[in-house]
Amino acid sequence: MTDFAMADLGYISLFLSLILSIYAAGAAFYAARRNSPQVFASARNAMFVIAALTTLAVGVLEWALITHQFRIEYVAVETSRAQPLLYNISALWGGQEGSLLFWAWLLAVFSAIVLIQNHNKNQELLPYVVSGLAVAEGFFLALLTVAADPSIAGFFVAIPLNATLAQSLVGNPFRVLDFTPPDGNGLNPLLQNPGMFIHPVTQYIGYVGFTIPFAFAMAALFTGRLSDVWIRTTRRWTLFSWLFLSLGLLFGMQWAYVELGWGGYWGWDPVENASLMPWLTGTAFLHSVMIQERRGMLKVWNLVLVMLTFILSLLGTFITRSGIIQSVHAFGVSSLGPWFLAFLAVTLLAFLYLLFNQMDHLKEENELDSLISRESSFLLNNLILVGAAFATLWGTIFPMVSESITGKKVTVGAPFFNQVNGPIFLALVILIGICPLIGWRRATAENLLRNFLRPFVVSIVVAMALVVIGVHQWYGIVAFSAAAFVLATIGLEFYRGILARHRQYSEHLVAAAINLVTNNRRRYGGYIVHIGVILGVIGIAGSTFYQVDTQANLNPGQTVQLKQYTVQYDGLQVYPTENHDVVSARLTIFENGNRVGTLTPEKNYYTSPDPNQSQSTTEVAVRSTPLEDLYIILAGFDTNTGAATLKVIINPLVSWLWIGFMVLVAGTIIAAWPDPREEHALVRARVREALAQV
């Protein structure tokens, strides 16, 4: 009976957390209005207790998943005895309820961290921040406890196992069955990939992280404290969350690349789009706060951007849980859709109400000095990014909107997104190159042209070189030339900066380079991030425009040729593993006649009592070099004749997409790293304030 009792422990932890979060939301608000430190301390303690209780609930569920407590419904659905431990652990976020619990836990822990960080700071904003965070936390806890089963006593009753098990699961991860199944269903085979361990975690950290800046923004709106304090306080949270959204995108794309087996890494799937949109608005936000800090402009725009990023983060989770789309990402039909929609609507309305109330206090301090200035290029950057986000949003929800109006199913596929977002992103790339050339406030035309000239020449040279070596497809050439342009401008920034330091401080060149970056972390960290983006663009352009493929049905010993590669099919192997059977093709690869290695693409076959789960997955075989990927899929086979159908694809430059992401991560860490001087200045500022009070 221990599994039943432990499930009670888990559920009660969540239920108690729900009560406490409602209390904390009200108490923090009351404490702020009545200036009561005691009540606030109590609300603060409640938030810490919620963090502890949700951690306990996560611990209980993980214990149940790892020790096969199949009496608990969630464990029976998401794990099995034969399933490798890694996937039993990651089953925590693999299913609907578990992923909601994971979200609630992350938010609770982040809220506790915010409280610790602001122990002596931001006392005016903090109570409202706590109140906001508690409301969000309460929402997720409600989904986990009372949303699916309003008769809260329902958890005392064990339910019978139901044939449409996967579809009936909503809300409570600790629901128990009235018997103990001997084994579980196991995770959907498509999810049994190492990507399962890291992609959802990074993605969720990114989504949940943006709750913090938004809570501060709402608190700033509510209190009228609309100077930059809320932005400066949350700057690292924004960078942290944006970094994890980027990592979520990276790992998602890598996983799709090897798992889905069509040679690509991005299909403009609704859930993929849902992870891209907050990343786009988050990027816009990261840039436009610099204008607010520098010139006091765009205050309203920044508030709107952080709200959009938060709402788009929630939209993703709404799309996957409402059952309105069919996707490998979808958790299936559930009753939680309307709850998310309601929460989104209430949040949006509350934000707009507070915003209109404060409009008088949100006066711009300055105007744009000139059209050719860094401010205007940042504005253009924002317009482009938000434009791309809205184009993606429209393409994503259009099928749902259209179906609800006309009743007919339409699909908006990759061509729409590629045609609309392609040129938008190209414009953005060029802007990344131009922007550093412009100074703040205004750029003298002659300076701009002079600085612009050399990188422009580089890009023309690159374009001509590409044409000469036989690269066709003009959009590829344009993309590569634009990339060359940007790399040249960034290279010039580093070169001139190093030279300036060398002259000014007589530093050795290497020391000058290091000091240049460490003394201007935001700027040069940002440049490194841009380099990463451009490398990614190179990878995307190469693999999108220059992919080649072929298909062949081979008997053992036969070969298929694609460009300089010869693929020799040696034979089929069939063998069982822990929870699936493997059919693999042994291949020997020759490049220009020289043997370079072997590859084994596979098909895996799973058995599962759940008829809704996939039965087979395709495991592609990839050989990566910096120049290109050789990507081979076992499309079909005949065990009688030993013949195999192979699809062979060459994806040029794909590795640069992954390399680019890693450079982006490094650049973000550099940009976010605390500058001792900056911290010192902030400390001095606070000290002066404190002294003014005494």
């Binding site: 221990t2 009792a5 432990m6 009670d8 422990l9 009660i12 932890s13 108690l16 406490l20 200036n35 430190p37 005691q38 009540v39 606030f40 301390a41 109590s42 303690n45 409640a46 810490f48 207790v49 209780l53 002596n120 006392q123 005016e124 209190t223 404290r225 100077s227 930059d228 304090v229 400066r232 800090e293 520098r294 006091g296 050339l437 412009i438 100074g439 703040w440 205004r442 750029a443 003298t444 002659e446 300076n447 002079r450 600085n451 920034e493 001139r496 300036a500 000014q504 201007n520 200045a681 902030l682 001095r684 500022a685 000290v687 002066r688 304030e689 002294l691 003014a692 009070q693 005494v694």
Partner: protein
């Protein structure tokens, strides 16, 4: 057995949450009530931003993104803005000050901070209005009531 654990957890949770009601607020919580003046806060933020802008200007000029004429005119503007902000800051602190603090060097400020930190255990509140009194005060600076040391 688990039932006992659950009961203990519930009791512990409620106790932690209720605890502040039974304990007098610590000194640090007093700042919660008073808070900083939003205008002051805004000025400080603007001042730091102006410093950063000047730093950026110099950098851009060294990198030939600004002509000399543009650089000079912008630099003058920003320096004037910084001076105006500092003057306003000083006049605001002068309204509260009992001793001239406006021209304190940063080292002196650090010293004051150390002293304040050191004397945190001895922070005294006015029993009438709750304002924090500096160590050694006999009368409250805000309301004039005598302080019981």
């Amino acid at each position: 057995m688990v039932v006992i654990a659950i009961a203990l957890i519930v009791v512990a949770a409620l106790a932690i949450v209720a605890y502040p009601y039974f304990k007098p607020p610590r000194e640090l919580d007093v700042s919660f009530a008073s808070g900083t003046d939003p205008v002051l806060e805004s000025l400080v933020v603007q001042r730091d931003a102006t410093y950063a802008a000047i730093k950026d200007l110099e950098f851009d000029h060294a990198m030939n993104k600004l002509s000399d004429a543009d650089y000079k005119s912008l630099r003058t503007k920003y320096e004037a803005k910084a001076v105006a902000i500092l003057q306003e800051l000083d006049s605001m602190t002068a309204a509260h000050k009992r001793h001239p603090r406006a021209h304190l060097s940063d080292e002196a400020i650090e010293h004051q901070v150390q002293q304040l930190r050191g004397s945190a255990a001895k922070i005294v509140l006015c029993s009438h209005c709750g304002t924090r009194a500096a160590p050694g005060d006999k009368y409250c600076a805000k309301c004039g009531a005598p302080i019981n040391q």
